[in-house]
C-alpha cells in the first residue's frame, strides 16, 4: 500500500547514516587497533573510516533536522518533540529533548574531539583513537533501533509513528491518507518546562563535558598499552582541565537554570540527576590535580590512573542511572525506560573490565614513587585534597545509588548493619527523607577541608617547606580572613559553628589565592589561571553558604493550620491588596497576556524614612499556557548586587473558573444535583427539597392545533436551613425553538442560586445546579517569594572558575608548544 504524502526517504537516509556510523566506528576501532599493534599500513584505513564515521554522524544530525524543520509528523521523534509554532532556537534544541537526540549530541561532540585527536596526538593517535572509535561504536549502537535475536539494540530517532510496535495493526496504519488526519498536522512540541534559553545552551555544554572526559581516559589506556606509563600525562593534562572547565560550566548552568526558571527555589537540590553529573566532575578534578603532582614530583601514579578511569566510568554510570528509569521514584526528573538497560550495562561493564584488566596486567611494571613525600609539601596537600574529593564523590554516588541497591535487593545485608546500631529493619530501601540534610551533613565538612587546602597549598613549594616561612607567607591572608569571617558572621547573625568555619575556609581560599597571585607571582598574567580558578571555587562555596543559610522566605503564611504542620511558604494575595513581605510591601496589580504567557504584574515597595511607600521595582512572573503539557509557572527574579528577590506564582485561578464566576453574576462554588420529586439534597449546610414539578403555562405557547411551540417547566422547591427555616425556590426550565433557557431562582436571604438545568424525560429526574454568592471575592493568586542574599558571589565565582581554567589550559598548551 502506498501512503499519501509520506516522506520516507530522509528517514531512510538518516537510518543509513546511523548504520554507516556504527560500522565505520567498529572498522576504525579495529584498524586503529592494528595500527597501534605495529601494523602501520592500517593507518590510512583507520583514519579514513573514522572520517567517514564523522561524516555519517553529521549526516544523521542533518537528516534529523531536515525532517524536523519540514514538520514531517509521520516521524515519531518529530511529532513528539517539535511543533509548527516553535521558534527556531527551540526547534534546534528539541533535537536533544529526547534520549536518542541527546545520545546523538554526545556522539557528535566525541566525533569532533576525535578529529582533533587525529590531527594533534601524533604517536598517541593510534591507541587513543582505538578507544575513541570503540566508545563511538557503543554509542552509535544506541541509535540502531534493530532487533537482534529478539533483543532490542538501540532506539532510532527515524522511526515512523505507524511503525511503532504498539500501533501495529491499528486502523490508522491501514489508511493510505492517514497523514491528513487532524493529529498529524502538528506535533506535541517542546515541554514548556524546557522552553527556556538554558535548554539551548545547557545540554550541549554538558555533553561536550561528557565527551571531553573520554580524552584523558583514552590517553591513560594508551599509556598502559604502549608501556609508556608516564608520558601520556603531558598531552592528556590540558584535556583534563578542558573537561573540568566545560563539565563544571555545564553543571553550574544546570544550577542556574533550576534557580532562574524552574521552581526549585534554589540552585542545588541534591537531585539524583544533578548528583550523577557532579560525581564524575569531582573525580576528574582530583585526577587533574594528581596529574599536576605527577608532572612535578613523579609520585602517586597509580592513584592518578585509578582516578582517570573512575571519572570515565562514572560518566558511564551516570548515563546508566539517568537513562535506565531506575531513578524513577526518587527524582523530580522522570525518565522512561527505553528498554536499553542491557546495552547500557554492557557498555558500563565492558569499560570497567577493560580498565581493570589493563591496570592489573601492567600493575607490577608501573614505576614506583620515589621515597616518601614530606608532610609540609605541596604535593602532599594536593594529594590529600584529591582524596577528599574522591571520598566526597563516593559518598554522593553511594547515596544516589540507593534505588539501584534497592533493585539489587541488598536490603538483607543492610538490616544486620542497622541492627548493630539498634535501628529498625527495613523492608526495602528508599532515599533519605531529607536528602538535602543528608548530603550536606557529609559534604559540608568535605567542602571545608577542600577550601582550606585550596587556600594554603598555593603558598607551598613542592618537596619540602619550612613551616616558619610558610606561616610568614600565609599570615596576612589568615588574618584578613579571620577578621572578615568575624564581621560577616556577626553581621548576618550566623551561629552555627560549622557554617562559621566554612565561612572562614572559603574566605581563606579566596583571599589566599588573591594574595598569592599578587604578592608571590607578582600578578603575572601567565600564572593567573590557577589562582583565578581557585578564587572562583572559593566564591562558589561562599555564595552557596551565605545564600542558603541566610535565605529568607518572605511569603510565609501565618494561617494556623494544625499542630505539627510545616509552615506554609505560599501566601494568598488579592488584586490590588498590599501585603508586607519582609522588608517589602508587595502589590499584585493585575495581569496581561502575551502570546502563551499569562503575566502577573507585581510591584515591590519599600518604606521610606518619612513613612511613604516608594516603588523599588516590579516583577513579572508568568504562567506558560500549554494545552498539551499543562500550564507551567515560571518565576521571575529581581537581581540586586547584594541579593535576589525570587517571586513565583504557585496558584492562579484558571480562566475557566474565573470566567464562569463572572458570567454568573458572582455566583460560584457550583454543585451538580440530580433529583426526583420528593428527594432531598444537601448543599452548603442547607437541605434542598424538590416538592413537585409543573408546567408554567404563562411561559408556554401552543400553536393552533394545541402542539407546544415552547414549553416551560417549573420546579417547586424548598431550601431549609439547619434551624428549620424554609425558603421557597422556583427555578424554571424553558425550551423553545431557539434553544434552552433557564430562569434561575435566587434566594437572597441565604445568597443561594438554583438553576434548573435539564429534565430527563425517561426517568423523570431533573438536574439542578446550586450556587453560592461569592461575588465579593476578589481575584487572587497564591505566590511564593524568597530572598537569596549574595547569590551573585556564586555566579561571579562560576565565571571566574571557567576563566581561570581557560587561562591555565592556555598556559599549559603554550608551555608544551
Amino acid at each position: 500500500m502506498e501512503y499519501i504524502n509520506e516522506h520516507t526517504l530522509p528517514g531512510q537516509i538518516g537510518q543509513l547514516a546511523i548504520v554507516i556510523s556504527f560500522v565505520t566506528a567498529l572498522l576504525a576501532a579495529f584498524s586503529y587497533y592494528m595500527t597501534a599493534s605495529g601494523r602501520e599500513q592500517w593507518k590510512s584505513l583507520a583514519r579514513g573510516s573514522f572520517y567517514v564515521h564523522v561524516a555519517a554522524v553529521v549526516g544523521i544530525i542533518a537528516a534529523l533536522y531536515y525532517i524536523m524543520f519540514n514538520h514531517y509528523y509521520e516521524y515519531q521523534y518529530v511529532w513528539q518533540h517539535t511543533a509548527n509554532e516553535l521558534p527556531i532556537y527551540y526547534m534546534i534544541s528539541s533535537l536533544w529533548e529526547g534520549q536518542e537526540g541527546s545520545f546523538l549530541l554526545w556522539i557528535f561532540f566525541q566525533a569532533i574531539l576525535g578529529v582533533i585527536i587525529v590531527r594533534t596526538a601524533k604517536k598517541w593517535e593510534a591507541p587513543s583513537m582505538t578507544m575513541f572509535a570503540l566508545v563511538q561504536g557503543f554509542l552509535t549502537s544506541m541509535l540502531l533501533g534493530v532487533y537482534i535475536f529478539g533483543a532490542k539494540v538501540g532506539s532510532t530517532p527515524f522511526i515512523l509513528i505507524r511503525e511503532l510496535p504498539e500501533y501495529i495493526n491499528l486502523p490508522f496504519t491501514k489508511m493510505p491518507n492517514y497523514l491528513e488526519m487532524e493529529q498529524f498536522q502538528n506535533g506535541r512540541g517542546l515541554n514548556p518546562l524546557l522552553q527556556n534559553y538554558w535548554m539551548v545552551i545547557h545540554p550541549p555544554t554538558l555533553f561536550l563535558g561528557f565527551a571531553s572526559v573520554l580524552v584523558p581516559f583514552a590517553f591513560s589506556i594508551a599509556g598502559l598499552w604502549y608501556k609508556k606509563y608516564t608520558e601520556w600525562i603531558k598531552p592528556a593534562l590540558p584535556w583534563t582541565f578542558f573537561g573540568i572547565g566545560v563539565l563544571g560550566l555545564g553543571i553550574l548552568m544546570g544550577g542556574a537554570w533550576a534557580y532562574e526558571a524552574l521552581s526549585f527555589g534554589g540552585f542545588w537540590a541534591w537531585d539524583p540527576v544533578e548528583n550523577a553529573v557532579l560525581v564524575p566532575w569531582l573525580t576528574l578534578v582530583a585526577a587533574g590535580h594528581l596529574m599536576l603532582i605527577y608532572k612535578a614530583r613523579k609520585t602517586n601514579l597509580k592513584t592518578t590512573y585509578a582516578l582517570v578511569f573512575i571519572s570515565f566510568i562514572l560518566i558511564l554510570y551516570s548515563t546508566f542511572l539517568t537513562r535506565s528509569g531506575v531513578l524513577g521514584d526518587s527524582s523530580v526528573h522522570s525518565f522512561v525506560d527505553l528498554g536499553l538497560n542491557g546495552q547500557l550495562l554492557l557498555y558500563l561493564f565492558f569499560f570497567i573490565g577493560l580498565s581493570l584488566f589493563l591496570f592489573f596486567y601492567r600493575y607490577k611494571n608501573l614505576p614506583k614513587s620515589s621515597g616518601e613525600e614530606k608532610f609540609w609539601s605541596r604535593e602532599f596537600f594536593m594529594f590529600i585534597g584529591a582524596l577528599v574529593l574522591t571520598i566526597s564523590s563516593f559518598q554522593v554516588t553511594f547515596s544516589t545509588s540507593i534505588p539501584v541497591l534497592n533493585s539489587l535487593n541488598v536490603v538483607e545485608f543492610i538490616n544486620p548493619i542497622r541492627g548493630w546500631f539498634s535501628m529498625e529493619p527495613l523492608e526495602n530501601i528508599a532515599p533519605p527523607i531529607d536528602p538535602i540534610d543528608h548530603y550536606n551533613s557529609w559534604q559540608l565538612p568535605f567542602a571545608l577541608v577542600i577550601t582550606f587546602l585550596i587556600g594554603i597549598t598555593q603558598f607551598m613549594k613542592y618537596k619540602n617547606n619550612d613551616t616558619a616561612e610558610l606561616v610568614k607567607k600565609i599570615l596576612l591572608s589568615l588574618i584578613i580572613s579571620v577578621v572578615l569571617t568575624g564581621l560577616i558572621a556577626w553581621g548576618s547573625q550566623m551561629d552555627n559553628r560549622l557554617y562559621i568555619l566554612m565561612l572562614f575556609t572559603s574566605l581563606f581560599a579566596i583571599i589566599g589565592n588573591g594574595d598569592y597571585w599578587l604578592r608571590m607571582v607578582k600578578g603575572k598574567y601567565n600564572f593567573a589561571g590557577s589562582s583565578i580558578a581557585h578564587i572562583g571555587f572559593g566564591l562558589i562555596m561562599l555564595g552557596a553558604l551565605i545564600s542558603n543559610t541566610n535565605k529568607e522566605v518572605i511569603s510565609k503564611n501565618d494561617t494556623y493550620i494544625a499542630e505539627g504542620f510545616p509552615a506554609n511558604e505560599n501566601i494568598l494575595m488579592e488584586l490590588n491588596d498590599t501585603l508586607q513581605m519582609g522588608r517589602y510591601n508587595v502589590v499584585w496589580n493585575g495581569e496581561s497576556r502575551e502570546g502563551h504567557h499569562r503575566k502577573f504584574h507585581m510591584d515591590y515597595y519599600k518604606q521610606k524614612s518619612n513613612g511613604e511607600l516608594e516603588k523599588v521595582f516590579e516583577l513579572e512572573p508568568y504562567i506558560q499556557m500549554n494545552e498539551t503539557f499543562g500550564n507551567v509557572a515560571e518565576p521571575s527574579t529581581k537581581h540586586f548586587l547584594t541579593h535576589d528577590i525570587y517571586t513565583h506564582i504557585t496558584y492562579a485561578e484558571p480562566d475557566e473558573v474565573r470566567e464562569k464566576r463572572e458570567a454568573n453574576e458572582g455566583y460560584g462554588r457550583e454543585a451538580d444535583v440530580e433529583m426526583s420529586v420528593n428527594d432531598t439534597a444537601v448543599y452548603a449546610q442547607h437541605f434542598i427539597i424538590l416538592d413537585s414539578l409543573s408546567i408554567a403555562s404563562e411561559l408556554s405557547r401552543f400553536d393552533a392545533n394545541g402542539n407546544p411551540m415552547s414549553i416551560a417547566v417549573k420546579a417547586h422547591m424548598r431550601v431549609v436551613n439547619v434551624a428549620g427555616q424554609a425558603y421557597p425556590a422556583e427555578p424554571i426550565y424553558f425550551v423553545e425553538d431557539a434553544g434552552v433557557k433557564h430562569i434561575d431562582a435566587d434566594i437572597e436571604d441565604i445568597q443561594m442560586r438554583i438553576r434548573f438545568e435539564d429534565v430527563d424525560s425517561q426517568t423523570g429526574k431533573i438536574s439542578l445546579k446550586a450556587y453560592q454568592y461569592v461575588g465579593d471575592e476578589e481575584d487572587f493568586i497564591v505566590m511564593k517569594a524568597i530572598i537569596f542574599p549574595y547569590i551573585n558571589l556564586l555566579w561571579l565565582g562560576s565565571i571566574l572558575m571557567v576563566i581561570g581554567t581557560v587561562l591555565a589550559i592556555r598556559h599549559r598548551i603554550r608551555k608544551s608548544a
Partner: protein
C-alpha cells in the same frame, strides 16, 4: 607505619562511615497501614492518585487535599501544604514523603512519575480510541 598507610586507613574509615550513615539515613517504602501505626514518623509511600476521588486546593488555607492509593490498594486522604503540583492528574505514580496523623496522611514532598515530563508516552488520538505508547 608509613604515612600513606595512615591516610589509607582514614580514607577507608571515612568511606565506611559514609556507607553506614547512608544506611542509617535511608528511609523505606511503606504502605499507608504501616505509616498509620507510627503516627508522626516520616515515611515514603509509593502509590498512585485516585482519579475518581475529589481533589481540592483551597487557596485560603493553602491546603491541597486528594486521595491516594498505595500499592496494597489502601486509600488515604492526603493533605499537602502546597498548591496542586503541575500535571498532577496525569501522574502514573506518586511518591509521597511525609507522615500519618490520626485522620490523614500529611505529605511534605510529592514526586511524580509523569508521562509528560522528559520522555513522555506518546498519545495519538483517533476518534474514540486513545493509544498509548
Amino acid at each position: 607505619m608509613k604515612k600513606t598507610h595512615i591516610i589509607l586507613i582514614l580514607i577507608i574509615a571515612l568511606g565506611i562511615g559514609a556507607v553506614i550513615s547512608t544506611i542509617g539515613d535511608a528511609s523505606t517504602y511503606v504502605s499507608f497501614d504501616k505509616a498509620d501505626k507510627n503516627p508522626g514518623k516520616q515515611y515514603t509511600v509509593i502509590g498512585y492518585l485516585d482519579k475518581e476521588a475529589e481533589r481540592n486546593y483551597d487557596p485560603r488555607s493553602g491546603l491541597f487535599t486528594f486521595t491516594a492509593i498505595d500499592k496494597d490498594g489502601e486509600k488515604r486522604v492526603v493533605v499537602y501544604n502546597e498548591p496542586e503540583p503541575q500535571d498532577f492528574e496525569r501522574s502514573e505514580e506518586i511518591t509521597l514523603k511525609g507522615y500519618a496523623n490520626d485522620s490523614v496522611f500529611v505529605a511534605e514532598q510529592i514526586l511524580m512519575k509523569c508521562p509528560s515530563k522528559y520522555n513522555e508516552n506518546n498519545q495519538v488520538e483517533e476518534g474514540d480510541n486513545v493509544y498509548y505508547e
